[in-house]
């Protein structure tokens, strides 16, 4: 027993010594790296700034460490650059061989290297990098696939859309946030493509993709999808779907959606979440024909519905304000308070 304990003490002491050596070695390594970055980074920053300011020529960097820092600085700069400056820097990166390098990195066995390659190609996003990015759509790492799909959605033509949409459908469960970014990019560059994501009953279409597409349509106010959305209201899907559809229609400001939205807002069989979304949408659209319905709903017993109705009335001009003032005289204290609060704000 004592012998075993003695062995354990020795083993632990040895482990601690190893750990101490690791910590010290790690520090030395990190400090050396930092020193190198501190030395090389200002040169790279200066070279890029000079190139962008005066179109000064920049020679190719040959040392791997210097190239890596150069690439880091260029990619950071591209995050903040727009228009011709961004295009100029992308052109420079291509000229200096970074695009070819990144394209070959996509074939690496190391995931981190492939991700880095995809990020570089996505930042450059010129014709040559787009070809490489298309191959990245079939990578085994979801982050590489998503980076490539986002860049292609932003910069490529319609030829890669089927593959991008397939990636969106396939990966929404693993990376819903990244898929949302891709759908947003599609909404900006190829708004018609979202139509294919709007059918929750389509085979292989996950409900999450539908919700994301709906949020993007609302956020980007893509009015061309409004007829399809109005149709969805008529199909009477679940409450959450109805709420998302109503929100999108409200953000678009689709006046033709007012009648079905009024029907939804007044539907006592629907959950408050869907009805409140319809009420908010009516307020955003601002059509005075909704005043009568909202004036009733501002007296509803459900807090969310009442609050949404009071806020919506506020956006419906003189008629809406009159209805709110009447509600502010209501004998029911909660109704009165809510209307007064909105009037005061």
């Amino acid at each position: 027993m004592i012998g075993d304990l003695g062995d354990a003490v020795l083993a632990l002491a040895a482990l601690e010594c190893v750990l101490l050596v690791v910590i010290v070695a790690l520090r030395v390594h990190l400090r050396r790296n930092q020193r190198r970055v501190d030395q090389l980074r200002p040169c790279a920053e200066l070279a890029i700034a000079s190139y962008l300011a005066a179109d000064a020529s920049v020679g190719p960097e040959t040392r791997p460490a210097q190239r890596a820092i150069w690439r880091d600085v260029a990619l950071e700069a591209m995050t903040d650059l727009r228009g011709s400056e961004r295009a100029a820097l992308a052109h420079l990166l291509d000229d200096l061989g970074y695009v070819s390098e990144a394209a070959s990195e996509l074939g690496s066995r190391r995931r981190a290297v492939r991700r880095r390659g995809a990020e570089t190609l996505a930042a450059v996003a010129n014709q040559r990098s787009l070809q490489a990015l298309a191959t990245g759509l079939h990578d085994r790492d979801v982050q590489v696939r998503m980076t490539c799909a986002r860049a292609l959605a932003q910069a490529s033509g319609t030829e890669t859309l089927p593959e991008i949409l397939a990636a969106v459908m396939r990966d929404v469960d693993a990376a819903p946030g990244a898929v949302a970014d891709i759908v947003l990019a599609l909404g900006r560059e190829h708004p018609e493509a979202l139509d294919q994501l709007l059918d929750p009953a389509a085979p292989g279409a996950p409900a999450a993709v539908w919700s994301i597409a709906m949020a993007v349509i609302g956020e980007l106010r893509l009015a061309q999808h409004a007829p399809r959305l109005r149709g969805t209201l008529g199909e009477r899907p679940g409450d959450r779907h109805l709420a998302a559809t109503a929100r999108a229609l409200g953000m678009i400001g689709d006046v033709d959606a007012v009648p079905p939205l009024i029907v939804l807002a007044e539907d006592e069989d629907r959950a408050p979440v869907a009805r409140a979304a319809a009420v908010t949408a009516l307020g955003s659209i601002g059509d005075p024909s909704a005043v009568g319905s909202l004036a009733t709903l501002v007296r509803h017993e459900d807090w969310d519905l009442r609050t949404a109705a009071a806020s919506a009335l506020c956006g419906l001009g003189h008629k809406g304000r009159l209805a709110l003032e009447q509600a502010a005289q209501s004998p029911a204290q909660p109704v009165r308070e809510q209307a007064q609060a909105i009037l005061q704000s």
């Binding site: 101490l20 980076t147 947003l184 949020a215 308070e337």
Partner: protein, 470 residues
């Protein structure tokens, strides 16, 4: 005596297995996090209009001196869409007057939403400008009650609970909200790294330079926090068993917290209790969910520098831990709750709640056995050495993880001090912490006060799930 020996040995082996596993899981998770954040282009991601808006809730009790600075620093955080909701919890000082003067507040009428119960609201204030600030003045009810009021008035899908005296780094909110951006469907809550601000250079409510504390007690706490956040919490998060998101800094989905019933009032450990309840509610719903810890975001907080305050804090934290475990005892060992029920909660009970008792009892019984001649002096010394060396091994592991990833204390002198305190911690400080935690245990048993709480002010939140007992 033999049974006791076997029990202590089994405890030690279980501790060794769980904590070594956590250290390995933490290493993998930190590496994964570093690779991921390097590639995702954080700044571009948060520019997306789909990034969820966050209501920052700041409960304040007698914080007139610092509240204006805190609000100003929160308003300047890097995040596209935020609002600040300050909840004045019946302060006896001039908190409201200071806020009114600094931000040009005026009293407004707003009915109180009915989602969560809390003490009556005395008034609502908002600035005349378009500053995203709302001040809720309510009767005193404690921190949990204030947070419930804040949740009621929050208008965004996420809320961030922040202590009034905490200082957030510029990008802390962005990084902590990232799990919600990456996985908006499953992410329910996300906590961030908390560090000790004692000794740091602070300018206008922000940490301008990270430095180690000059005093001993805060220095020991730096070691504890490193172990708690870099090893334990990162490891638990990696395997889906995170049980604590510090009350000092965490982001939650507003609708989920409302569905779970909000913060429980009348207990000390409301932060841990809420996370446990979220686990329970989400598991019962049967849908996949994530409660995660992000190892990088930094919230700086002042650690107690005096033994008196530290003693009170530790005994209160321990009471909070036991209360939360007791309230959710049905989850313990229950396979329905997966890793949380089968691994995280039993570990918490054994190593955190009962750990101080077991370890101190181990010292006492071993000493008695030594005096009675039941065990040999060499055996006693060797067993102590194993326990101490393993504790130090875990601490060194946590320091190595911090060094390899964020390295916030890069000077060699800092490393010397960290290592020195890591070794010294086992000789006196740890035993003292155990005694103070036991005191909390004792207070709880003696008063049987499940719910009655005399506190009316706030204080720092537990690093918890910490491995603070070895």
């Amino acid at each position: 005596m033999i049974t006791f020996g076997i029990g202590v040995f089994a405890f030690f082996v279980a501790f060794l297995v769980v904590h070594t596993g956590l250290l390995v899981a933490a290493e993998i998770e930190l590496h994964r996090y570093a690779v991921r954040t390097k590639a995702i282009g954080l700044r571009e991601r948060v520019r997306s209009p789909l990034v969820p808006a966050v209501s920052i809730l700041v409960p304040a009790y007698n914080e007139g001196l610092s509240i204006a600075d805190s609000v100003r620093s929160l308003l300047a955080l890097d995040y596209p869409r935020t609002e600040i909701v300050v909840i004045n919890d019946g302060s006896a000082d001039d908190t409201i007057e200071r806020l009114t003067k600094e931000f040009g507040l005026r009293r407004i009428t707003r009915p109180t939403p009915p989602y969560l119960p809390h003490m009556p609201v005395r008034g609502i204030y908002a600035p005349a400008s378009d500053l995203r600030l709302l001040v809720v003045d309510k009767e005193n009810g404690g921190k949990a009650d204030s947070l419930n009021a804040g949740i009621n008035f929050a208008s965004h899908p996420l809320f961030c609970a922040v202590d009034g005296d905490s200082m957030l780094e510029q990008d802390a909110l962005v990084k902590t909200a990232l799990p919600f951006v990456e996985d908006p469907i499953r992410t329910v809550a996300s906590g961030g790294l908390i560090r000790i601000a004692n000794g740091c250079r602070i300018e206008t409510g922000r940490v301008a330079e990270a430095r180690l504390p000059a005093e001993r007690l805060p220095m020991f706490q730096v070691i504890e926090y490193a172990r708690a956040f870099f090893a334990a919490r990162t490891g638990w998060s990696a395997i889906g068993g995170l049980l604590i998101i510090s009350g000092a800094f965490g982001i939650f989905r507003t609708d989920m917290v409302i569905a779970a019933g909000g913060y429980r009032t009348g207990i000390v450990g409301e932060d841990m209790e809420l996370v446990l309840r979220l686990h329970r509610v989400c598991r019962l719903r049967g849908k996949p969910y994530r409660i995660v810890y992000v190892p990088d975001p930094v919230c700086w907080t002042e650690a107690p520098a005096s033994a008196k305050v530290l003693r009170r804090q530790r005994s209160r934290w321990h009471r909070g831990l036991i209360e939360a475990l007791y309230l959710h005892r049905r989850m313990m060992g229950n396979p329905r709750y997966g890793v949380v029920g089968l691994v995280a909660l039993p570990s918490m009970l054994l190593f955190e709640a009962l750990g101080p008792l077991i370890e101190l009892a181990g010292y006492g019984v071993s000493l008695a056995a030594l005096v009675a001649g039941v065990i040999a002096p060499l055996g006693f010394v060797l067993f102590l050495a194993v326990a101490i060396l393993y504790g130090q091994f875990l601490t060194l592991g946590a320091i190595a993880l911090e060094d390899a990833t964020f390295n916030r204390y890069p000077a060699w002198g800092d490393l010397r001090r960290l290592l020195g305190y890591a070794f010294a911690e086992s000789f006196g400080f740890r035993q003292m912490m155990h005694l103070w935690r036991l005191e909390g245990f004792w207070q709880l048993i003696r008063k049987s006060e499940w719910g009655a709480m005399e506190r009316r002010g706030f204080s720092g939140s537990s690093p918890g799930q910490s491995g603070s007992s070895h």
